[in-house]
């Protein structure tokens, strides 16, 4: 029982990442009708916002300590981050410690701008072109984004730790009547899960309860009519693109302590996020969220030793590696519109 609970938790935090990326992806598809292969790259860029902030906060002055020596016998160099000089040692260290949460704030304006520029500068010219061209040009963009990051940050993974306060474990099992330590789960992963619920909730609330959101939803349903009413729907959609980019970006930031980012992060998440969107139903926001969490949990369950040994009897070891793709293929064949997709949308 405790093992199952642990895997559910694990599935939830994996699923949060899937859901957040898929949400933006399907938002772009629903509003602009564009298939964006560069969406994984936006997630990756978000993660590197955190890396950049970490670098900025760690810009240091170097002083020599003649009483100590380094490995070559020279006086030891001591680095003091500028923030410590400015705000005092304790406050400075606290700022560095809380890099990741700060990076969320840091990344939002950056991602909005990146999203805006991307839509106005490139995607806009592809509305009238076939989906294949959209896929191709955004695929090229994803390569370029990855390479730019590689050129600036190197090819290796970069560790960005969570704040000390949230780096430990939370013993959830105790609240549920388990013994101490049976269901202890990393606090940061729980934080990430709560964070994504908040983001998902606010997106839905924004679309549901604001005039802006109402217009966007109307535009998703019938773009031409909304346009005929004299509403500049293109402008609204551009903003939605920016928001989708920001969602992917903050997801990337918050995910860095769980998975240290490298330039390949975008490509790693690309396939899976498309699978999530398709399983949930192309253009369905609720479907993307549902499918994200479902596939995350499914993947975690498949990696349980009991499940694995069951499949091993069927000569399929490490079923966890392929389960998601199997499910996606089955869903696409049995229910092409996806779990919550509307009938007739892209269903050919």
């Amino acid at each position: 029982m405790d093992a199952i609970l642990l895997q559910v938790l694990n599935g939830l935090d994996k699923g949060s990442a899937y859901a957040l990326i898929a949400l933006g992806l399907t938002l772009i598809f629903g509003t602009l009708g564009v298939v964006n292969f560069a969406h994984g790259a936006l997630f990756m860029i978000g993660a590197f916002c955190a890396v950049t902030l970490q670098k900025i906060l760690n810009i240091s002055t170097i002083s020599l300590d003649p009483t100590k020596t380094d490995f070559l016998g020279d006086p030891l160099k001591i680095k003091t981050p500028l923030v410590e000089t400015w705000f005092g040692e304790i406050a400075g260290q606290a700022i560095i410690d809380w890099t990741v949460p700060l990076a969320v704030l840091f990344s939002i304006p950056i991602m909005l701008v990146i999203g805006y520029v991307m839509e106005r500068g490139l995607i806009r010219h592809f509305y009238k072109r076939p989906h294949a061209d959209q896929i191709l040009v955004t695929f090229g963009l994803a390569i370029v984004a990855g390479e730019l990051v590689k050129a600036n940050f190197g090819a290796t993974e970069i560790q960005v730790p969570a704040p000390d306060l949230l780096a430990g474990v939370t013993d959830l099992g105790v609240y549920l009547g388990f013994d101490v330590g049976r269901v202890a789960y990393p606090t940061w992963r729980i934080t990430f899960f709560c964070f994504s619920l908040a983001v998902i909730g606010s997106i839905f609330a924004f679309l549901q309860f604001t005039t802006f959101g109402m217009v966007v939803r109307a535009g998703m349903a019938d773009r031409e009519t909304v346009g005929l009413l004299g509403i500049n729907i293109d402008r609204k959609f551009t903003i939605m693109f920016g928001i989708a980019a920001a969602v992917a970006g903050v997801a990337g930031v918050m995910y860095t302590p769980i998975k240290p980012p490298s330039y390949e992060l975008g490509m790693q998440f690309l396939v899976i996020s498309f699978v999530v969107v398709v399983v949930g139903g192309m253009g369905s926001l609720a479907g993307a969220v549902l499918a994200g969490f479902m596939l995350g949990i499914l993947e975690s369950f498949a990696s349980m030793n009991e499940v694995k040994s069951f499949f091993e009897m069927l000569y399929l070891p490490s079923i966890d590696q392929i389960i998601i793709y199997l499910v996606a293929i089955i869903v696409l064949l049995v229910r092409p519109r996806g779990l919550l997709g509307k009938a007739g949308v892209m269903e050919d």
Binding site: V144, Y325, M346
Partner: protein, 399 residues
């Protein structure tokens, strides 16, 4: 000639000539000269040119003609390689049985995957093939390790049975051959500073490439090819005429899968190792890049694109800072550093960046690829001469 019209026959003869003379054409610079680093005339790279040419020609039959964008064709290439290496391990080091099996295996799998994926079209088709590719990669990478040797890659060893071959007593690893003619054999022609290399493996692959090119040419000109183009132009209209288009697309899918299998088998024949990475979806992305860069739907485009990307990957990527500095060494130091810094991100390890940018430019402005670009320039030159409207050329993309 060969049941080709005159224009096609000229194109074909042109390709034959280029392929056979490649060891000369690819080696324009003397060995000792500073430009020798741009020479591509060594066996490994020349083999890759033609093998990936086959891969791209096959992919073009699917994507170029029907417009179905598959992100999973590398899986068939990988399966071909595994099949070939297993043949080398079990049966014989002769490449013929290996190639036959790799085509068959890839054909069967593409029939299966194509049958499922082609029940959908458009973006769903792309994502289905993406899911299949990623699944195949993971199967090969970890799930089916006994069959694929996982991460290390499937290799031949001294102890393999090889039932058809004589018992190996030399203590040397056996090498792939065509009835005794070893693939790795290379003869070198030294002429006044140039060293031209003639490699058996290259010529064997080249022959297969020419056959593949010829078949693709015939398909392009056949009623079947016309049907495939009709699917690309307007599938709905085609369906309304009461025609079921799926058998045609499936046939195109399987043919391109078999081409990929042949390419995979040839890769394994040149170097008997099969790794799972060649099945990854990004490897499929590479053949997409090749086809589009060269010109989807054109005859020569895919071969051109394959050569272009492989040249970038192997030659362009070797230009490091030292070489850049030596190029600009005639300048004052500040200028030299400036130019080196500007160019640095785009060459050497950063060649993918250049590739990605070029690819985006081509998709945006030149959907017909490099071949289309060449045709346009050619037409403009002719226009200036004759001011006549451009005549339909055999290499113009089909839209």
């Amino acid at each position: 000639m060969l049941k080709l019209d005159k224009k096609d026959a000229v194109t074909f003869l042109f390709v034959v000539a280029i392929t056979l003379l490649a060891p000369f054409i690819m080696n324009p610079f003397p060995t000792e000269s500073g430009l020798a680093q741009f020479n591509a005339g060594y066996p490994d790279l020349m083999q890759r040119f033609v093998i990936f040419g086959i891969f791209a020609i096959g992919y073009n039959i699917l994507f170029g003609l029907t417009g179905y964008l598959s992100f999973g064709h590398a899986a068939f290439l990988g399966m071909g390689s595994y099949a070939a290496v297993w043949m080398f391990k079990l049966l014989t080091m002769n490449v013929i049985p290996a190639l036959i099996l790799s085509i068959i295996v890839a054909g069967l799998f593409s029939l299966l995957i194509g049958f499922i994926s082609l029940r959908r079209s458009g973006i769903y088709f792309s994502i289905l093939t993406l899911a299949f590719a990623e699944m195949s990669f993971r199967l090969a990478y970890s799930v089916l390790t006994p069959l694929t040797n996982g991460e290390t890659g499937l290799q031949i060893t001294l102890k393999d049975p090889r039932v058809l071959d004589a018992i190996n007593t030399t203590g040397h690893q056996p090498v792939t051959s065509l009835f005794g003619l070893e693939m790795r054999n290379t003869a070198t022609l030294d002429i006044a500073g140039w060293a031209f290399q003639f490699n058996v493996g290259y010529y064997v692959s080249a022959v297969f490439m020419l056959i593949a090119f010829y078949i693709s040419m015939r398909i392009f000109r056949s009623p079947f090819g016309l049907m495939l183009r009709a699917i690309k132009t307007n599938q709905t209209r085609l369906n309304y005429t009461g025609l079921n288009s799926r058998p045609y697309t499936l046939a195109a899918f399987v043919i391109s899968g078999m081409y990929a299998g042949l390419a995979g088998g040839l890769l394994a024949s040149m170097d008997p190792l099969a790794g799972a990475e060649r099945m990854q979806w990004t490897a499929s992305g590479e053949v997409v890049l090749m086809t589009i860069l060269g010109g989807a739907g054109t005859l020569l485009g895919p071969v051109l694109g394959a050569g272009f990307i492989k040249y970038f990957e192997n030659i362009f990527s070797k230009i490091n800072d030292n070489i850049l500095h030596s190029w600009f060494s005639f300048m004052p130091e500040s200028l030299e550093t400036f130019f080196t810094t500007i160019i640095h991100p785009f060459v050497g390890k950063g060649w993918h960046l250049t590739l990605g940018l070029m690819f985006m430019l081509i998709v945006t402005f030149l959907p017909g690829g490099l071949v289309d670009g060449g045709t346009r320039i050619w037409n403009r030159i002719r226009k200036n001469k004759k001011s006549s409207s451009s005549a339909a050329s055999s290499t113009e993309p089909v839209e």
